[in-house]
């Protein structure tokens, strides 16, 4: 299949970790081009490209940069912070970008720094990504030797294991050396971010793509993909498919083609039951809904879900939806930072009620209680972590209600221990409490 590669252009399926090899495919020409432009002209290119943030919120990148005040308006240091704390379940694209095109990513950091007139870049990379950190460190050293940094300092900061630090204000707190708990917004990071100074926070893929936007020209980039979702996207495909992995495809690509053609279909002769289209916090799609969906903002939004972090998880007919709900909810419970009560307590409740349903101890009223708790989390916290759990769990109930009902009527799991998630063990310990108090 020939699909245009933008982020991974020139790699031929391999990695461009040698600086000479990267230069041979046109590396650092975008940086030279950007530095010949004024910051406003760079932002204009980004606006023309209609590039929208690849972290999950899909916010227009050019507009985000334009929110950062000019240094003469707000005379404080300006910061670029790159969110490389990829940890949304199902998502593993940023690590592959950092491994295969580290220079394109770092080049994008310099371009973005130029656009917001910053001399200080922090890359917050999740602690579990050890190899990725080493590749970036070596690449950065190679660029320093070639004097490409132009007076900009790039600091690689390693996280220490906390999903919540992918939330931008929690990330800033963590970067400043505190517990990773989200801040109240406003003020937004563009005005008062890192050390209360103007800060742009961008995802790794957005930054790597920005390099290519400048290289190709904004209008040229916008010709790829579909309306409102321009360009390509690195889709992370996982779950019960034959060939899981990262695939760079244009937005608007049919979801079923990703699963059946690119991904080789459902493994072991099973049939598709459901698809999580954009990371574990998005609304689940039934196999029928997935049939007609395309991978872009409009199509997935019209189906009531979201493109999120473009992490597609295919789920086959062996999976019990209540068990899926438990495992997803356990994750959010584990990762809740504990700052806002609806999330800290609500995620625990959701797990408990789902476990009751799974064990056959639930009464009819518990299903209503479950949805009621979802309602009491939604929109009532500083950040969307609790919302993610509520949205996901409520969608499993609404789309697979008969299966939840069967658990209640039958007094246990109708799959009788044959579910693909049977016996799964979640990690213990919570961010919100000391270890000793867990599940007391």
């Amino acid at each position: 299949m020939s699909t245009p590669e933008v982020v991974f252009a020139g790699t031929n399926g391999g990695a461009l970790t040698d600086i000479a090899a990267y230069e041979a495919v046109g590396g650092f020409t975008a940086l030279a081009k950007a530095r010949a432009l004024t910051p406003d002209e760079v932002i204009e290119q980004l606006n023309d490209s209609q590039l929208r943030g690849r972290g999950g919120a899909f916010f227009p990148t050019g507009r985000k940069w334009s929110f950062v005040p000019k240094p003469d308006k707000l005379p404080k240091p300006h910061y670029l912070v790159v969110n490389a704390d990829e940890s949304e379940p199902g998502t593993f694209k940023d690590r592959e970008i950092m491994l295969r095109v580290p220079f394109r990513f770092l080049e994008g950091c310099l371009i973005a720094a130029h656009a917001i007139e910053s001399k200080h870049v922090f890359v917050y990379i999740r602690g579990e990504y050890e190899h990725e950190f080493e590749v970036l460190r070596d690449s950065l050293e190679a660029m320093r030797k070639q004097k490409l940094l132009g007076g900009v300092t790039i600091v690689l900061h390693r996280g220490a294991g906390a999903y919540i630090c992918g939330e931008e204000t929690a990330l800033l707190e963590s970067l400043e050396g505190r517990r990773g708990q989200p801040r109240t917004k406003p003020p937004f990071p563009a005005i008062a971010g890192l050390y209360a100074a103007p800060t742009a926070v961008n995802n790794v893929e957005s930054i790597a793509t920005a390099t290519q936007v400048i290289a190709l020209g904004g209008e040229e980039y916008a010709k790829l993909g579909v309306k409102d979702s321009t360009g390509t996207r690195v889709f992370s495909l996982s779950g019960n498919v034959v060939n899981g992995g990262n695939y760079e495809l244009p937005h608007g690509f049919p979801l079923k083609d990703l699963i059946y053609d690119v991904g080789g279909g459902i493994a072991d002769g099973h049939t598709l039951k459901a698809v999580i289209p954009g990371g574990s916090s998005t609304v689940i799609l039934t196999a029928e809904e997935a049939e007609g969906a395309t991978l872009d903002f409009d199509s997935l939004t019209s189906l009531g879900t979201a493109i999120g972090s473009a992490a597609v998880i295919a789920i086959d007919d062996r999976c019990c939806m209540v068990q899926l709900g438990i495992r997803v909810s356990q994750f959010y419970e584990h990762e809740s930072c504990g700052k806002c009560t609806p999330c800290r307590v609500g995620t625990h409740w959701l797990t408990q009620i789902l476990q009751k349903i799974e064990d056959g101890r639930a009464a009819q009223a518990d299903l209503d209680l479950l949805l009621d708790v979802c309602d009491r989390i939604l929109g009532k916290c500083l950040c969307p972590l609790g919302d993610s759990d509520a949205i996901a769990v409520a969608s499993y109930v609404s789309k697979f209600r008969s299966e939840f009902q069967e658990h209640i009527d039958y007094g246990g799991c109708p799959l009788g221990g044959s579910s693909s998630l049977e016996g799964i063990v979640a990690p213990v310990g919570l961010h919100a409490h000391p270890d000793e108090l867990v599940h007391a």
């Binding site: 379940p89 579990e128 190899h131 900061h157 990773g180 899981g244 998880i313 994750f331 979640a426």
Partner: protein, 139 residues
């Protein structure tokens, strides 16, 4: 955080009380504050760990691919339950949340380096390799 990371590396992979005193002295903070930071993050360990730390991802994608069987295989090969450290200090076995390798399930991190596509049938071989060569087994 970098100071705590350094201290953890110096103290054999975990943070004993004296580590917090050292970090606090160096940064002009209190040990209690340093502990409050460390206790928030999964990768700071407040109890001793084994020489080899085996972490099995049991999030949704790995779970759909059978991470439970991989974990059970490690439990039986290492004679440990998830969350335990062997008495002789050789191994720690844990389950962890998504390691970001979902398309290459099951992901097992051994001393923080990731092995991809681990199946239950691979586990006896991995454990034999870890036992045979000591700590430095990450290929």
């Amino acid at each position: 955080m970098p100071a705590l990371q350094l201290a953890q590396a110096e103290h054999g992979g975990w943070l004993p009380p004296e580590a917090f005193r050292e970090v606090a002295d160096a940064l002009d903070l209190t040990p209690a504050y340093c502990l409050s930071i460390a206790s928030f993050y999964d990768m700071f360990r407040l109890e001793p760990v084994g020489d080899t730390v085996v972490e099995v991802c049991t999030n949704v994608s790995c779970g759909l691919a059978g991470a439970q069987r991989v974990l059970e295989a490690f439990e039986s090969e290492l004679d440990l339950h998830a969350g335990e450290t062997a008495e002789d200090g050789s191994f720690t076995l844990r389950t962890v949340e998504c390691l970001g390798g979902c398309g290459w399930a099951t992901i097992v991190a051994i001393n923080n380096l990731h092995r991809l596509h681990v199946g239950a049938e691979d586990v006896p071989g991995i454990v034999a390799e870890l036992r045979g060569e000591g700590v430095d087994v990450n290929a």
